[in-house]
Amino acid sequence: MAPTERPPVARGDVARDRLMVAILVVTTLGFLDAAYLTYVHYAGFGALACFGAHSGHSSCETVQSSQWAEIVGIPVALLGLLGYIGLFVSYWVAARLDGELGRGMSFCIALIGFGFSLYLTYRELFSIHAICEWCVGSAVCLTILTVLTGARFLRGETTAGAAPV
């Protein structure tokens, strides 16, 4: 049986694949971070591993028990978790339904997360005077995702017939 020959892969496709892998890795990290914070919110602060100290107690707990940890009674951690799930859904939409729309959705969700985490970081620094490493971790993930999903959206599909996820 003759060996099958692999079709040549365009350099643009390789770059897009790498970009998507990076996006998936960062989204997964952010998802795990938000899932942990959501778990801690409902399970109690005993499970909150945090290195910072604030007035004799964990700085994460200070942040998580502050008024800014909830919006109309919904934990911000849970909203973050839903945001990451939304990102995964948008990747699926881009791959299966509508590439342009899916990539737009990804960028939109990441941008919202980035903007709100910027506000929350401001609150941590200037209102709560305590930093939660887990929240900062999620903020960093969302910053990276905003850049990567933005690049992916603006780059779009350059090769006819190519359907990057």
């Binding site: 005993g46 200070t62 942040v63 109309v72 729309l101 939109c108 941008l111 209102s127 959206f153």
Partner: protein, 282 residues
């Protein structure tokens, strides 16, 4: 000159190029439309989230954060509180021997600066002389004064008052009300700024030596404590008490409200006036 076949191919190539350019242009237009939508949606959602975050949360107290003491300062405060309360029995908001012949009801508001002055300047001596000896027991009761200032609506004030007072009552379920209240007064912030938020109240609870934090959290919602708070407040209103701290001394010879002066306004009595009142009702 190009042959007919070549001319056909050139025309075809030109048509394909035109179609590709049109498709590319349409794609660019759609992408720009989506980008516009993305930015508009993102801005709207972020603004709404920020507005809800900074002004919402129902009646949940919000406001500035007062930094709690730490390090050597906290060590000093804990030393003073522990020395004052060491060896004195506590039950709920009662400090002292339950069978003490004299009872002093202390109507206070944890945000009240005059209560702070009384608790830090006069109360420790009174505790050493009258409570530790088993002659007087002190029962703390709540009355909203400093917390119910004009800075905020009644609903916000009441939510703040309930939240902070119940936090202290909850520590009382573990026999540590007075440790919590004294730590509060030692680290009191500016009244009316809603500083005793959840982080502040939890921070104080963490400072109380030996307090079971999970139980403290759970007990904050006990109906019995809410009822106690409501009873305290309604009694204060019914008795037309004029401010905090109001100290009511009761013994076998009767009951009297112990008055005092402080900076020529409503205040509290000094140690000698308190001792005199104890003698009068004993």
């Amino acid at each position: 000159m190009a042959s007919r076949k070549e001319q056909k191919e050139q025309a075809r190539a030109a048509r394909i190029a035109q179609e590709q350019a049109a498709a590319s242009s349409a794609q660019r237009t759609r992408r720009l439309q989506i980008l516009g939508g993305v930015i508009a949606i993102a801005v709207i959602v972020i603004v709404v989230a920020i507005v809800l975050s900074s002004s919402g949360n129902g009646n949940r107290p919000k406001g500035t954060t007062t930094t709690l003491a730490k390090g050597s300062t906290l060590h000093q405060i804990l030393g003073a509180v522990n020395t004052e309360l060491a060896g004195i029995p506590q039950s709920g908001t009662t400090l002292g021997n339950p069978k003490a012949p004299v009872t002093m009801q202390y109507y206070g508001d944890l945000e009240c600066p005059i209560c702070q002055a009384f608790t830090l300047d006069v109360f420790p001596t009174f505790v050493q002389q009258e409570v530790k000896t088993g002659h007087v027991k002190v029962v703390y009761r709540s009355m909203c004064t400093a917390t119910c200032g004009p800075e905020h609506s009644n609903a916000v004030n009441q939510a703040q008052f309930n939240s902070q007072q119940l936090a202290a009552y909850s520590a009382g379920q573990q026999g540590k009300f007075w440790q919590y209240a004294e730590l509060f007064y030692h680290q009191q912030g500016k009244e009316g700024t809603l500083y005793p938020n959840q982080a502040y109240l939890t921070g104080l609870a963490k400072q109380v030596p030996g307090l079971n934090l999970a139980k403290w959290r759970a007990d904050r919602t006990l109906p019995a404590l809410k009822k106690q708070l409501a009873t305290d407040n309604s009694f204060a209103l019914k008795a037309a008490l004029t401010g905090t701290p109001t100290l009511i001394m009761s013994g076998k010879k009767g009951t009297e409200i112990v008055n005092g002066t402080y900076l020529n306004t409503y205040a509290f009595p000094g140690p000698s006036q308190l001792a005199k009142a104890v003698t009068q009702v004993s």
